[in-house]
């Protein structure tokens, strides 16, 4: 394969989007759907065929110069190495399935063209982020992803709630993007280049304090897109969008962008122990926070949103613990099973005619086994039941954190284990609430299109078997992904005993979670009254209210001060004062204009006299 064909990977979705944008009105809906799916499937194919090019140092292709201004040289450069290739394959592959699912999901709804155009654009923007070798190009894709997510979350914009959810997602991520932009500008100032590979190569030469600050800036930037503390509030609200969008945003693309960025720039941030510790801490705390929130959610999609946040937290922990492989491993398995969970949830909601309350759904196991079994597979992966993909990837992260051998990371590892327990608890809670039949079920089942069913199967298989991607040596695997991405881990290899012990503990924890959910929810379909703590968790630790009082409230007060006092009183008062004095002066002046000829003539005579006196005085 020619190396020049790499540009096809991002270009195909863009072409699909453009074609549908221009011609979507003129051809039937079937064509639009086929074009959109074909574009992404083509990108998948291209990524798969071009896989050999990613070996070794990877392939770098300069397409054309973009900005040229003195020292600022920003070429359109794509860098296709193993990391990018893995990510691109995952993004395109999962997106293809989501697109196919979307054709069924949007079966009778309006505005299909807009939906598929935005979906394709989304994939294009994400692939730009993945393949860019240039921080500015990466930022372009990064913002493109943000814009598409805004437009897609607010897809049903006619309802105020959805539109404001989209706005919130956009604004919150924008706040974090400012930090990313600052980091990029600073890096340019320090190294004189924007190329990621060049920056990574120069990383050891930078001062340690600077690198720490840069790492923190990048962390904040990544937190916004990946919905980590304290930028996590947009993600649960983002559930306002259509379910395929939730799957696309929460599984394959947007939220993993932050993790990917940190992996991409890992040689830089790994220079700073403080930065790494901060990343690990943010990840772990978010994981714990989101898991507690997920435990009490009643809305099925919100529950999944919080679980996503929690799993992304694990990935941050992995990056912080120094294992890019662990982060990518979890990113891949998570993408599979989370897309699966969302798509299954979409099926459930569809079957129940739009009902999202977990306590009103039920009887799925009997009514639609074709949705239930994939859902169960996804839940098993999420809960980290042994031998599923989620088990291995989560274990690898906890192990890497533990193996750092210092107190801080071991505490984080313990918190991670606690989160694993909570994860198992809420995952099985979902199954026990949705699976068994109960009184007052929504009776008449809707028919599910076949595309919403068969797309679940490959994802379920990938999710369950995802562990094979990087099966640790202890389990008889060969750590394929580790071999691909190269041993970037900086810590020493842990003893195998630890590895097995940790696996055992994790298995016991997930089992405990299952037993708890069984004891608490099996056969008890009625919702219990939630206590104070429950409400607290349900509202996401009152994060929205905290932001309201801490950030928005003071901001509004300041705004009110400037608007009511400074603008309306001071500035407007000043303007009015000037206007009034002018007017008063004019009122005095107009008295001179009597309109009487006699007065004018007198004035003229006296004026003439004055002039003559002046002339006479001059001549003396």
């Amino acid at each position: 394969m020619s190396r020049d064909l790499i540009f096809l990977i991002p270009l195909l979705p863009l072409a699909g989007a453009l074609l549908n944008m221009l011609g979507g009105r003129f051809w039937p809906r079937r064509v639009t759907e086929s074009l959109a799916v074909a574009a992404v499937a083509g990108a998948t194919l291209a990524a798969a065929l071009l896989w050999p090019l990613s070996g070794g140092e990877g392939t770098t292709v300069e397409l054309f110069g973009w900005l040229r201004a003195g020292p600022l040289q920003v070429p359109m450069v794509l860098h296709f190495d193993r990391l990018a290739a893995c990510m691109a394959l995952m993004v395109t592959g999962v997106s293809t399935l989501i697109h196919v699912y979307g054709t069924g999901y949007l079966h009778r709804k309006e505005d299909a063209v807009r939906f598929f155009v935005l979906l394709n654009l989304f994939v294009f923007a994400m692939l730009t982020v993945v393949l860019a070798d240039n921080l500015l190009l990466l930022l372009l894709g990064w913002e493109g992803v943000g814009f598409c997510s805004y437009a897609l979350i607010g897809y049903w914009y006619r309802e105020e709630e959805n539109a404001s959810a989209g706005r919130k997602a956009f604004l919150v991520t924008r706040c974090a993007d400012v930090f990313l932009l600052a980091a990029i500008l600073w890096l340019f100032q320090l190294t004189g280049t924007l190329s990621i590979t060049a920056i990574n190569a120069q990383a050891p030469l930078l001062a340690p304090g600077t690198v720490t600050l840069l790492a923190l800036l990048l962390l904040v930037g990544a937190s916004g897109k990946s919905a980590q503390l304290p930028f996590m509030t947009w993600l649960p609200d983002a559930m306002a969008g259509p379910t395929p969008v939730s799957a696309l945003i929460h599984a394959a693309t947007m939220v993993t962008a932050g993790v990917y960025l940190l992996c991409r720039i890992f040689p830089l941030i790994s220079q700073s122990p403080t930065g790494m510790a901060a990343i690990a801490a943010v990840g772990t705390l978010t994981a714990l926070y989101a898991a507690t929130c997920a435990l009490v959610q009643r809305d099925i999609k919100r529950l999944l949103a919080y679980s996503t946040m929690s799993q992304i937290g694990y990935m941050f922990l992995a990056v912080g613990a120094g294992t890019v492989t662990g982060a990518m491993f979890h990113l891949l398995t998570h993408a599979f099973f989370k897309a699966l969970l969302f798509m299954a949830a979409g099926g459930i909601i569809h079957l129940a005619a739009g009902e999202m309350d977990l306590f009103k759904l039920g009887g799925l196991a009997r009514r639609s086994p074709a949705v239930f079994w994939p859902l169960l597979a996804g839940v098993l992966c999420l809960a980290g039941i042994p031998l599923t993909g989620g088990f291995f990837s989560k274990d690898a992260i906890l192990l890497a954190s533990f193996a750092r051998g210092n107190m801080f990371y071991q505490v984080l590892c313990l918190l991670g284990l606690l989160t694993a327990l909570l994860t198992a608890m809420y995952s099985f809670r979902l199954i026990y609430l949705v699976g068994p039949a109960r009184k007052g079920d929504i009776g008449e089942p809707h028919h599910l299109p076949s595309t919403m069913l068969w797309t679940l199967i490959p994802l379920a298989i990938l999710g369950l078997a995802g562990g094979l991607l990087n099966l640790p040596g202890v389990w008889g695997g060969n750590e394929w992904l580790e071999g691909l991405l190269g041993p970037l881990i900086t810590a020493g290899e842990p003893a195998h005993v630890f590895e097995l012990l940790l696996g055992l503990i994790a298995s016991l924890l997930s089992l405990a979670g299952w037993l708890w959910a069984r004891w608490r929810y099996a056969g008890k379909p009625e919702p219990r009254p939630v206590g104070t703590a429950g409400t607290f968790f349900l509202k996401g630790w009152q994060a929205d209210r905290a932001i309201e009082t801490l950030l928005l409230g003071p901001f509004r007060a300041i705004a009110r001060f400037w608007s009511a006092i400074v603008d309306e009183r001071l500035l407007e008062g000043g303007v009015f004062l000037a206007a009034r004095s002018c007017e008063g002066f004019g009122q005095q002046l107009r008295r001179l204009t009597t309109g009487r000829l006699g007065h004018y003539l007198t004035a003229m005579a006296f004026g003439l006299g004055a002039i003559m006196v002046w002339v006479l005085l001059q001549s003396i």
Binding site: L589, R590, R591, L592, T593, T594, G595, R596, L597, G598, L601, T602, A605
Partner: protein, 101 residues
């Protein structure tokens, strides 16, 4: 030159101030116009006198011009007087204060 220049100046200045006084003191529009004519002619007299003093024709040419202009001015002014009379039925200038601010 038979008449000394000083006398001419005295006469014309007197004429000028008489015209001015007429303008300022009278309320009738026609009288004001007459005052203006007197002032113009006073100025013309000085010009003729100066022309004779320095033996140059410029001043006399200028006076001819002045007469032409005055004739035109009087024609327009009288037309306006007629019009204004039709408007207000008298010519007291205090009645015409439509331009008052």
């Amino acid at each position: 030159m038979i008449v000394p220049m000083g006398h001419i100046l005295i006469v014309s200045t007197t004429l000028f101030f008489m015209g001015l006084g007429c303008i300022l003191a009278r309320r009738n529009l026609i009288m004001i116009l007459i005052g203006i004519e007197i002032m113009i002619n006073a100025a013309g007299l000085v010009l003729v006198g100066a022309s004779a003093l320095w033996r140059q024709a410029d001043g006399q040419v200028f006076v001819l011009l002045l007469m032409g202009v005055t004739a035109a001015e009087v024609a327009i002014a009288l037309a306006m007087v007629v019009y204004l009379y039709g408007f207000k039925r008298n010519l007291d200038i205090d009645n015409f204060d439509g331009m008052r601010g």
